[in-house]
Structure formats: C-alpha cells, structure tokens
Symmetry: D2
Subunit: 339 residues, 4 copies
Amino acid sequence: MLVIMNRGASEAQISAVVEKIRAAGLTEHLSKGVERTIIGAIGEERKLEPEAFELLPGVEQALHIVKQYKIVAREWHPQDSVVDIRGIPLGGNSVQIIAGPCSVETQEQMDLAAAGVAAAGCRLMRGGAFKPRTSPYAFQGLGSKGLEYFRHAADKHNLPIVTELMDVRMLETFLEWDVDVIQIGTRNMQNFDLLKEVGRVNKPVILKRGMSATISEWLMAAEYIAAGGNHNIIFCERGVRSFETAYRNMLDVTAIPVLKRETHLPVIVDPSHAGGKAWLVPALSRAAVAAGADGLLVEMHPNPCEAWCDADQALTPQELQELVAVLRQIAGTLGRSLC
Amino acid sequence: MLVIMNRGASEAQISAVVEKIRAAGLTEHLSKGVERTIIGAIGEERKLEPEAFELLPGVEQALHIVKQYKIVAREWHPQDSVVDIRGIPLGGNSVQIIAGPCSVETQEQMDLAAAGVAAAGCRLMRGGAFKPRTSPYAFQGLGSKGLEYFRHAADKHNLPIVTELMDVRMLETFLEWDVDVIQIGTRNMQNFDLLKEVGRVNKPVILKRGMSATISEWLMAAEYIAAGGNHNIIFCERGVRSFETAYRNMLDVTAIPVLKRETHLPVIVDPSHAGGKAWLVPALSRAAVAAGADGLLVEMHPNPCEAWCDADQALTPQELQELVAVLRQIAGTLGRSLC
Amino acid sequence: MLVIMNRGASEAQISAVVEKIRAAGLTEHLSKGVERTIIGAIGEERKLEPEAFELLPGVEQALHIVKQYKIVAREWHPQDSVVDIRGIPLGGNSVQIIAGPCSVETQEQMDLAAAGVAAAGCRLMRGGAFKPRTSPYAFQGLGSKGLEYFRHAADKHNLPIVTELMDVRMLETFLEWDVDVIQIGTRNMQNFDLLKEVGRVNKPVILKRGMSATISEWLMAAEYIAAGGNHNIIFCERGVRSFETAYRNMLDVTAIPVLKRETHLPVIVDPSHAGGKAWLVPALSRAAVAAGADGLLVEMHPNPCEAWCDADQALTPQELQELVAVLRQIAGTLGRSLC
Amino acid sequence: MLVIMNRGASEAQISAVVEKIRAAGLTEHLSKGVERTIIGAIGEERKLEPEAFELLPGVEQALHIVKQYKIVAREWHPQDSVVDIRGIPLGGNSVQIIAGPCSVETQEQMDLAAAGVAAAGCRLMRGGAFKPRTSPYAFQGLGSKGLEYFRHAADKHNLPIVTELMDVRMLETFLEWDVDVIQIGTRNMQNFDLLKEVGRVNKPVILKRGMSATISEWLMAAEYIAAGGNHNIIFCERGVRSFETAYRNMLDVTAIPVLKRETHLPVIVDPSHAGGKAWLVPALSRAAVAAGADGLLVEMHPNPCEAWCDADQALTPQELQELVAVLRQIAGTLGRSLC
C-alpha cells in the first residue's frame, strides 16, 4: 500500500503512519519527493485498509498496489480456464451460444424453444423459472414448476440448462432438478450470502455484472464464489446503466478485453438484456464475438409476440439460426470455432 | 398506455394495435396527428406491458401514463405518513438523527457509542452486525453476537436499534432480538425475495437506494414491501454511482424533494456512505436537512481511528454533538423540530 | 405534442392547456382515460416547447412526439447517404479506416506516418495540429505549421487529410490548406457557433460525440451543421464518460445500430480515444466493424514510444497493417468491402 | 510521479523506466515490495505524462502525485479569495444571489426583471443574450441587442450584469457593453480557445461545470483562465448528467465542500438548470447554501408563463423574495451574511 502525504505534512504525522504500518506487521519505505512524501507498506498489504490511513492527519490519499482478487486473477493463473458443462467446453477456443426464452411459460412453449435452440446449432439452453421483476404486480415466474418444464424440454435434445437463482432457500430445489449452470442475476451480483452459497456447490455459475458494478467489484464478487471452493465461474456482461435513453442499457464491449486480461475465467455477453430490443441483438452479438467474448446468452422465443415478458427482445427461432451462421464466420476469422 | 405509431404506419398496423388493446379488455382511443397516429388504451393499464406493443410492426414507442406504484404514491395518499418507532415519530414535523458505528465490534465499543448517541440528543441508534463487504477477505460483521451487544448497549439509553438484514434466513434472529428498524442495504434494494419477507413482518423498514437505481425503481422496490402489508417504509438516499472520482458516491440531493412529491412516506439521508469521508459529513448533513429530509443516518464511532471498517467516515461523539446543534437550527428555519 | 394531465386536473386546467395549444395555431385532441386526461396538439409541433406547458397548473408532463431533427433523420431520407471525400466514398457498402498520429510533430514524423497509412491500405489520414488538452501546461499542437507538415506528407501518398478545428477564427486557415475533412471534437459537439460555421462551408465534417451527449443531442448537433447547408456529415462515436475506471471511456457500441436506424448519414468509431490504450484498439475496432460501423478513426504513430501525446494509445504501422487485415475479413462477412 | 511495475517485471524493464525518468531531468527512487516494484520520479513531475510510461513493457500503471493545477489550488494559496464585482464581494463571508431571466426578451421584460431582482434584495443580475440551444430551430437569443436591453435595465438599479459568452468573436462586444461578469457555459467548459481569451481580460468569469466534467477537469479549465493572468474566477455547479430521468440534471452538492477544500476561489450553484423545474429551486437553493456555497445563480422571470425559454424553471419575483428570506436565515446559521 502507498500512503501519499499532504504537502507540508509534519515529521510527527509521517511517524504516525509509519507506526501504524509497523503495528500491522509490515515494513515502511519512505520516499521524499520535492513536494510530498510517499510511504510504501511492504508486506501482505491485502489486510490493510486504505481508509484506516486516510483518516490520519497529514495523509492525502492511501491506495492499494496489489489487487484484492487473487483466485480469479490471471496474474496468478496465466492460462485460460475452460468451464466444463456436462462435457461442453465454455472458454478456450470454442464460442458457445446459450439460447432460450426469457421465462418458462408452458411445457409446449419450452418444447418448441428447445427444438429451436437445437435446430440453430446451439448446445446450451437458457430459461427463467424465477424472475426478478421491477414491479411486484408483474409475472414473477412459474417457480419449481418452471424448472420441471425446462428440464423435460431440454433433456429431449440433451441440452444442459442455465437458469437464475434468486433466493438461497431455493438452492436445494435447483440441485434436485439438477440445474446445470446456475445464473446469478444483475440485481444479485453483490448479494453476498447468495454468492457464498453457490461457492459451496459443484455447479458452474454465470455471474452477471451488476447494473453499475465496476469491473473490479465484479471480479471481487467472483472471488466470493471462488473463495468458497467453486472455481467454475463465467462472467456475463449485460450492459450497464448510463445516461442514454435511446436503448435500455449500454453494452460495455470494452469490458470483454479488459476482463480477458484480468482474469483467466471465461467471459460471455447477454446482448438481449443489453439492448432491450430484438432488432439490436444481431449487431450487439456480432460486436461481442468480434471483441473476443467466449459466448453469448441470447433470448429466443418460439413466438415472441406471445411471450409473457420482455416480448420485444426475443429473437424468433429463424432469426437465431441466421445469427448463429454469421457469428460462426466471425469466430472463424478470429481462429475460434462456434459450437 | 399510449402507443405512438411510426410515420407512415399502415391502417393494418394500427388495427393490430387496437385489437391487442381490446383483447386485454381495454378500450382504444385514436388520435391522428399530422405526422403520426397515437393510440391510447383506456382502462386498467397497469396490466399492460409496453414491450408487448413495441414489437408490433409500425409501433415507434409505447409508454405507461399511470405510475406503476400505488400504495406508496402520494397521488393515492396525499398526507404525509409518519412511521412510529417505539413511540418516536419519523416523518411529519420532526427530524430524526439516527447515529452509531458502521459495525458492531465489542460490547464496550457499543456502550460508548450508545452513550455518545444519547449525549448528542439523538433518539435512534444504528450499527451493523452483518456487513456487506466488497471483498470476501474483509471483516464480515459479528453476526448474531453483534445483535446481542447492540441490543444491550442501546437498551441502557432506551434507544431503538436500526440494523441491516442481508439474508432472508436471518429474519427470525432479527425478530428474536427485537430489532426495531430493519435496514435493507443498497446492494439488496432489488433483492425481491428479501423485500417480500420484510413486507410480511410488522417492523419499520429503511430501504436504501440501489447504487444506480432510478427513483422510479426505488419506489417500485418499496411497493414490493408495501404489497406484502407492511407500510412502515422509510426511504434512505445514500449517494449514487457517478463518473466523479473525487469522493465516493454522488449524494442525490434532488431526490429528496422529488420523493417527497411522489410518495407520502418519510425520506432520510445517509451522508456518511455518500461522501465516504468524515470531513464531508457536516456539509452533506446540512444540505440534506435544508432540502427537506426527514432525518439522517450518520456514522459515529467512539474512536474512529480504531474502527474496524470505514474508519475514515465516522464522526467522533463530539463532532456529532456539534453537528446536531447546527442541524437543529436549520430544521427550525424550516419550521421543523429536531429530536 | 402530448400533454398529460395530473389525476384530478380540473376542467379549467384542461381548458388552459387547450387555449395555449390553439394560441400557437395548432389543434387539440382530448382523450380522457380512467385516471388521467391526455391532450394531443395536432399541427407543426416542432415549434412548441414542452416546458411552456409543464409549468401550467394540473400538467404532469408534456412531451414531443415528432423528433426534433429532420434533415439528418432517416425518417425523411430512407436511403444511406455516402459522403464523398475527394472521390473516396465514406458510407454505403465500403468501410474506411482513417489512420494517423494523435498530433503532428515534425515533417519527418508525418512522412513516416503517411507512408505507414498508405502501406496498411488505408485511404484517409488523420493528425492533429490544434490539440484540445485538459492542462494548459501540456503541448497544445503545432498550429498552422502542423497543417503544412500534414498536407505535404499526405500529398505524397494522395491521402485526403482529416484534422480537428477548435476555433472559428482558424476556419480560413483550414480552407487555405485545403483540409479535406474537418473534425469537430468531443468538447465542441455543442459549440454551436463552430457548428454553424462549418455548416456554411463545402467540406465533409466528422462530428465526434460529446463526452456524455445523448444520441438525440448528437443528432441535433448534426442538424445545426445541416441547417446551414452542409449535409456531408459523419458521426464519430468515441466512447462516453462512465463510472468505470478500468479504462478511459466506455465505447458505446449500441450507438452504431441505433444511429444507423435514426439517420441516413455514415457512422464511424474512434477506438483509440475510447479505450485509451493501444492493446485495446484491435478488440474495439473489430467490435465496431462487426456492429456495422462505416469506418474507423485510428491512432497510429511511426514510433509510439516517442509520441508527444497519448503515446500509449497509438498502434505501430505494423500493428495497423495486421488490424486492417482482420477487419477486411469481418467486413467481408457482412458483405462489405474495406478500402 | 509513481510508476507501478507488473508482478514479475524484469530488471531490464525497471531500468528502462529509470532511464526515461532521468532523461526528463528527474531522479528515480525505487521501492521493492513483496509483489511489485514501485518507482518514484523525484523533481518537477508536472512535465511528465503518465501515458508515456504506461506504454513501456512491464509497467502496470503510472500516476501523478502532485496535482496538475497550481494557480487555482488552495494548496498554494490557503486563504479564501474574494472576487470583487464593482465593489460587491463574491466569496469570503458573504453569500450573493444572482437572479434574472434565462433570456433577454424585451426592454420591458428586463426592466420588470431588474426591479424584481432589486426588490428581492439581490445585488447582481443575470440574463442571456446569446443562448446555447440544443435545437437550431429554437430561439437563439437577441444577441447584441439583448446586451443593450440588459445594460439599460440593470443600470437603473445599479446591478452589475452577468451574461454568457459563447463565441470568442463576441468578446469585443461584451467589453463595449461593459459586461461585469462573463459566464462560460456548461457546453464551453473545455472550449479552450474561449478560456484563453477570457483569461486575458480583466473581468470576473463564472465558469460553469461541464455536463459530465470531473472536479479535476473543472479545476484544470479554471487553470487555463488563470494561466492567462485573470484570477477572478468563480466556479458554478449546475448539475451533472446522470442516469436519473425524474428531473433534468443531478445537482452535485458534494462538489461544494470538495471544491472549497481544493481551491481558494468562490463556488456558486445554479439550482434552476440543475433541477429544471421551478418547484425544485427552493429545496436545491437551501441545500446549496447549507452546504457552503458562496452564492446562487437563479432564474427569475417577471412572468414565467410567457418566458421565451425554460419557462418552467423560472421563479416569480414574489417566489424569489420568499426564497431569499429563508436563505438569509440559513446563511446566518453558518455565520455568513446574505447580501
């Protein structure tokens, strides 16, 4: 950690900082500049909190030099990690498209959806049984019954299923239905109790980025899961909150290369929740794959006009098929294979 | 709801919209402008979703006219609501300062803190037993033991206690320790299962604003609690995420008068988490009370230099006392009383 | 325009709105819903200002239905516009890469840069003679001397030149050196006097997006130029301000398809100023072209380590060449040709 | 400046950084931590650019330790500066309310406005003759004729006038009409040529914050003016762009105490453009003064309903009078005097 003193900080103030560093079992290193003195703390600085120094008199700023995340950091694990989902690799050389409806509605809808996913050449399926809705008066998802429909529909095509867990108390049910990938939604990225619980199970986790989470906070949220023992984590960028009102969220395409540099774990993108409109999905999907994403989480509904939620952002099965064809070419350009 | 058609939308496209409105049991109202046709849906529009219309061909935009929140809306309840906390009124004419440390550390620390809160003339006490920390390696709070220390310390001064609930599974414990006000933190503002649970108990709830939640989403989150039957809700503005890096969060002082117009429920402000520095707390506290806030949630520690978390944002007991004196004068200027 | 009345607005309040609409020469259209009355203003609504209605008693909100921009709107000009730059088409089927250094430094540097641009197969060159710098103490550009170096270097390879105009008083000088494309920088997107001046000349203009300009404000800024008679406008997305600190600006890739739908004019992207780091440029460039951009504005320096400004965001000539090769393939995938 | 090396940076990489520091005439200071080496550059670091180091191999990050602004910094000028406006002090112990209409419309309107300003006890008057409007089709201000009306109206009450300069070419005209305070608007905060010009004249300048300018950029913009010799600078916070759509801009009340700590120059607030609605102005004005602002810039119109622009944000003369009375009390609470 570095402690930057104010211009004109007194010797006594400098000594107080030094003492505090020593009290924590670290060693100080002083550097006197023309205008300011800087004090480095040498040792395991992760246990020091900058705030504890910033309140000392004469201190301008204190900052960590080492990063707070470790298990998920590429710095400590240089090779790409590949998450294995019932034999399907996510990460590495392949690009995976996870498709399916926003919410599970009926057995018939899920059967049609699963057929559409498989027909488009996608190998993983998504669908929501528990839905986080802004309004308490909106459809909240079918719950366990939804998991049942989903499991049955997906099994016919041998598609692993991806679905969102919102409540720690439902984890048992998820394991009973053998959900293949547990999704942690945007609103729960810093629901730390939920992160700790999924950190204890042996299931891949898709961790969506919080509405306005920094990349660093997102990595720390993943570290919560990893610290519990579960290292099968997939980051999912889904657009962040911005001042722009012409579309729903601002897809942070820069987060893809930045994350790929910071972490060894795979990074996918949800173009549907980012743009919020089906007509935006092809352009955003192409951008994501071109920028190096390891996969996509795309909404597709057998009949978007009759979808129970987010109707305007789902692709039709036909549109999904066309999109996958283009994405395969772009992936190829980058030396990667899709599906 | 209003459906705005594209310039050049065909009659068939207009008819499709009309049909969909009728199918939902509402009545349409057409208005043909020079460039565009607008279709109003007359009836209980809260059950319509704009998205279901925006995917129809020829539709430019669909928007709700009525607000989605109802129980918390001033439109439906014009008088100010006052939340009663063991006889202490929050809202209405009085302004309440809730003070105490960021986290519960020891019985002694809490005893000193409680004495400081009472000495400053504050009537409610805050303190965290369960702490949402960005890093899994940081101190996570004392848990139930913390509630015990807190309860004992506060009872000596007859101070109702305010503390954060993060996990639905701990609600029983909160009720056992008879927590007087349950705080829902920023990261859980849209943890809908948690909101539903606190909506079922008979305890006042402080609902902090999400890191980048719009005022409308915040009102909807409160509506989740209210829809469960618990109308004792207090909004707490605590700064939002912004591009500015000179301080921690941007206190949205405008949210105070806007909320006071939109809802009949009380609105308080947390100046400590907003600014993130003790030296900013007095200015932000004065601004909040001057803007019409019904109270504050302020961090005070008997010995900030030794605080286990957020050390640099806690006031000393002495500083709290001085702040309260100034705030009392400002409240008086607005015809309100503090305490 | 639509005027939405409060629940419980009186007949007199409704009449006042109607009167104001009629006074402006438009016709009203009333629609009484279950909870609210909505009043439409039929006629040339562009001359009405919503604010003038929002201050009337009983009015909840007033909003424009038609868009404020017209010359630049695709609604009024459905086919893509192609901007001709000395015979080189920007827009339509081709994708153009405009490359060159951040700032003009010496004749030799520009000669090497021009050779690198041409060698990479790019057909347009960029370079800054007047630099907008955050600090008054930083290098401010060579000024007119820079235009001279630039012109000479580019002419050897027959490359049209693109350079930024900051001050209306320099327009004459730009015309004297026959600058081929005038760039309006981020900080001047709403420098309306500058926009009016470039609207009067017969030179293509690249209009960069303001640091936090909405797409609608950006279209209106272009309308300022277009209203003066100059319709040769190229939009340039360059990243917007956000809460994220892991990189410089957040590239708004969604703005590309949204703009392509709203305007008939070409849209290019500056991946260098967006990310702020050379290592981010390839990923962002690929994303931009994949999302449908009509071109890029890329920083390349013959020797980045010695660049006088923004050293860390310039590609080497070799890196540019490799990037162009990949972009050509991605453009091909979308049925477009690069260069 | 500090250069933080990557974990595992080689000796050769460290040497290259050291060499570059020495080449710039500074001295290095090495500090080897457990995980990383940090290199300090001792000397006049303002001339080094971090970017020039960040592109060197093995460098993680480079950062300035000293601040880039100097003339405007409190660090170099600890006492408060008071700007003298024809004998009226802005800054120090007094709080000044500058009031008047958004735009100059007619001589009669300005006469009424000036009378209202004086009657409310305000000592300075504002009004716009040149208006920055988002749309080219909106009223652009009366121009020089407006300055004439303004000057005449204000002189009757001996009120110094404050008005916005948008175009360097109009500076002469401003000096001819002897404008007392030149306002630089939000959209021109980084119009560096304009800043340089007003830096050369001997007139107080109000520098509004850019739509999403950081406090540091804002201080640097002021430094541009100060570097030209004009130190009579007043900062004006007017709300920043945010994700919130319930009101126009987010008033950054925290910027007030932060600026007061960073600079010795006065800080005022424009509550009218911040909130965008007249009913928000009193709450925001009270908050600003309570937070320590040295003054306000408030819109007042003799007849808001007939204002030519921003009609819904102007106070009536009566409302201004009431507001001033409350603000006088709040200022008194803080030991300051209003007017």
